[in-house]
Structure formats: C-alpha cells, structure tokens
C-alpha cells in the first residue's frame, strides 16, 4: 500500500495545504521547507506537506508570525534530534560501563 513519493509544483503544494501561493513562497524563503529542485521552477518532495501543515497549525493556533514558526520548528527539530542522540549515547555508554 505504500506509495512512491512524487514531486509537487508550488501551485500543487499550496492547493494541498490550502494556503495562498504567496504564503507558501514565504515559508520556502524562510527555509521551513526546501525545494528539491529550483530550476526551471520549484519542485517539492511530497513529504513537505506535513511540514507545511505543521507550520500552518503553529501559525494559526499560537498566533505566531512565519519567522517565529520557522524558529519554533527549527528548535523543536533540534530538541528532538538532541534528545534521541542523548538516549543513543547513554545506551552506548551503558554498554561500555556495565
């Protein structure tokens, strides 16, 4: 049942996430998502849909501007990565010390 990930144009992406093209453009310019191709026009890996939807929820629910959303997502992602890395290192340390 799993499907191959396909590419979306800017228009298709903004339709999928129900946001104006200008808003999605701003989201890209802030680096919240990155196009997988820029030339001749932007193409996005379909999985960015969940990232944009998450950004839109934060923008809406917490009344944050897009800059704040970009920062929050970056920090949340960092935080999660560091927590997982910390868990992994603790497990490795335990193997050496036990």
């Amino acid at each position: 049942m799993s499907n191959r990930i396909r590419s979306l144009t800017l228009g298709e992406l903004s339709q999928r996430v129900a946001l104006p093209v200008a808003t999605v453009t701003e989201i890209v310019e802030l680096g919240i998502i990155e196009p997988q191709a820029r030339d001749p026009h932007w193409l996005f890996d379909e999985t960015v849909v969940v990232v944009v939807s998450r950004a839109a929820r934060l923008h809406r629910d917490l009344a944050m501007d897009w800059n704040g959303v970009a920062l929050a997502l970056e920090l949340a992602e960092d935080n999660q990565r560091l927590r997982r890395e910390n868990e992994a290192l603790r497990r490795r340390l335990a193997r050496l010390l036990e």
Binding site: M1, R57, R60, D61, R91, R92, L96
Partner: protein
C-alpha cells in the same frame, strides 16, 4: 456527560477579563501544542485548552457558559452534567467564522454550542494529512518487509522498503483524515523510528556492536565470532588490541539508498569474575615479567 470547568482548565479566576484569558490560553497553547510539545498527553491537553478558550473568548458564548456553570454549581447537574430542562443549546450566530478546530471538541462543548456554527463553507474540503510514528526493528530494514499497523480503528498493511532509515517518512495515499462534502481523504505519513536494539547501536547508516574480549584475546589476537543483522561472521582480532579499538566490517551496517553502512565492532576488555590460585599465579608471573606502567604519563 462530564461538566467542564473551562476556567480551571485555563487556570484563571471566573471573573478574569479577556486579556487574562487570552494570555493564559497563549501560554498553555505554547506549552501543549502537539507540534512542539514532548508531553505524552500534549494533544488531549491542547484540545482541552483550545476548547476552553473557544468557549470563553466569545462574550455571548461565555455568558451562556457562565449561566450553565451556575446551574451546575447549584447542584442542578447531580453527579454527571445534565443540561437544564428545556435547554436548546447556543443559538448565536457570531463567533463561528473564526472557528479553527477540527470539529473534535468534547460532547459537552457540542451540547452547549451545537455543531452548526462550524459549517464554515460548503463545497468539498480535502481531509487532513496525518503523521504517525512507526516503530521499526533494525532486522526489518534488511529486506522489504510487510507490516500491519493500527491507526485509530483501522488496520493497514504496509510494505516497508529495504534500507528505510530512522526519521524517514512513508506516504500512504488517501489514508489520512476523511474529506468533507465529497473532498478527497488526506494522506497518512508514517515517520520511521528505529527501535533500540539489544546488541546494535545506530550511527547514521553505520551500526556499532560492543564485543567483550578476554585480556589474553586482546593480547594475543585471534578469531572472534561477531553478530551482524544477517548472522554471525568471524572477525580477526589483531594482537595487542587496546580496549575500545574499533574494527570496521565494511558493508555490514544498515542498508542505505546508495551504499550500505558499515558495522563497527568495538572491543571491550573484560576481566574474568573469579581467578583461581593457578590463574593468580600466572597473572603474578606476567606482572613480574612485564615492565609495563599504564600510568607512566602521570610521572
């Protein structure tokens, strides 16, 4: 039905003004927003907090709620909450346009304010894309693997492609939230979480296995049988290996999109639990013979 004390949920006094209510909501919403919070109950707490805010931020709704709250406190509701006889629910038309929830507020909220004000627009609306975490065993990444996962009430069969890594997303088209008014269903994204393994640690596409060795194995070298994800292999241990030495077993790590990762066997020199007299004598002999001072650097 349970009566919900929206003031208690937001941690404000019943006579709090709009500013206080808004600021309490903002603070709790930041704390429990499921997209940033690591709290296990974040989603249900966030829903509770936004429901309370949606009820209290609108003066008409708040007045209705206060009336009902007084009735409840007067004992009218008994144990569970029952609306007073003849209660028609909230009939006001304002405040509906900014409703931003997904229509999953509690029965209590629905009975108070009805569901009608939620109808923002007619016409088809696509369903939400959903993302759930999917635990995956390292062994399941070696070859294409079929897995059953439960999402809410549904059981889905998914094929996980070989080489799927931690944090990767797998898309299941049309398996997200259902659409409204004939709109298409959203997609479901599975975010892969590799399950910690009893033997192997993961570093990118590389695997690390800790290999306990006896002091004489470290000193003399030899063959050691080392586990990999696809069975044991024999590894040559060089003579005079230090504790912590890493032996690289090329291509024995996790499958990747391009090349497979490597497996690192990390040596851990382990002393025997007990030494009998003969062993002690042998160690003593070695101590007398060897001029080795491991703390020479401290001089």
């Amino acid at each position: 039905m349970e009566f919900k004390d929206y003031y208690r949920i937001l941690g404000v006094e019943p006579d709090a003004d709009d500013k206080v209510i808004k600021s309490a909501y903002r603070k709790l919403a930041r704390q429990y927003h499921p997209d940033v919070s690591s709290d296990d109950d974040a989603e249900s707490k966030f829903k509770e907090v936004s429901e309370a805010y949606h009820a209290l931020k609108d003066p008409e709704k708040r007045a209705e709620y206060d009336r009902l709250r007084q009735y409840q406190q007067g004992g009218g509701g008994g144990g569970g909450f029952q609306p007073p006889p003849g209660w028609q629910g909230f009939q006001g038309g304002s405040g509906g346009s900014d409703f931003q929830g997904e229509g999953d507020f509690s029965d209590f909220f629905e009975s108070l304010f009805g569901g009608g004000f939620r109808q923002r627009s007619s016409g088809p609306r696509p369903g939400r894309d959903l993302e759930v975490e999917m635990p995956l065993f390292l062994e399941d990444t070696v070859a294409d693997t079929r897995k059953q996962i439960r999402v809410g009430e549904r059981t889905l069969n998914v094929t996980i492609p070989a080489g799927t890594g931690d944090n990767e997303r797998i898309r299941l088209k049309g398996q997200g939230a259902p659409g409204a008014g004939g709109g298409e269903a959203g997609d479901l994204y599975l975010r892969v979480r590799l399950v910690p393994h009893p033997l192997f640690d993961v570093d990118g596409h590389d695997l690390i296995v800790t290999v306990p060795v006896a002091p004489w194995e470290a000193a003399l070298g030899g063959k050691v049988s080392v586990p990999t994800l696809s069975g044991r292999i024999s590894v040559t241990l060089p003579a005079n290996s230090q504790n912590g030495r890493r032996l690289r077993l090329k291509g024995k790590g996790l499958n990747g999109k391009k090349a497979p990762g490597d497996l690192y066997a990390v040596l851990k020199v382990v002393m025997p639990d007990h030494n009998d007299e003969h062993s002690q004598a042998l160690w003593r002999q070695l101590a007398e013979h060897s001029g080795f001072d491991p703390r020479a650097d401290w001089e």
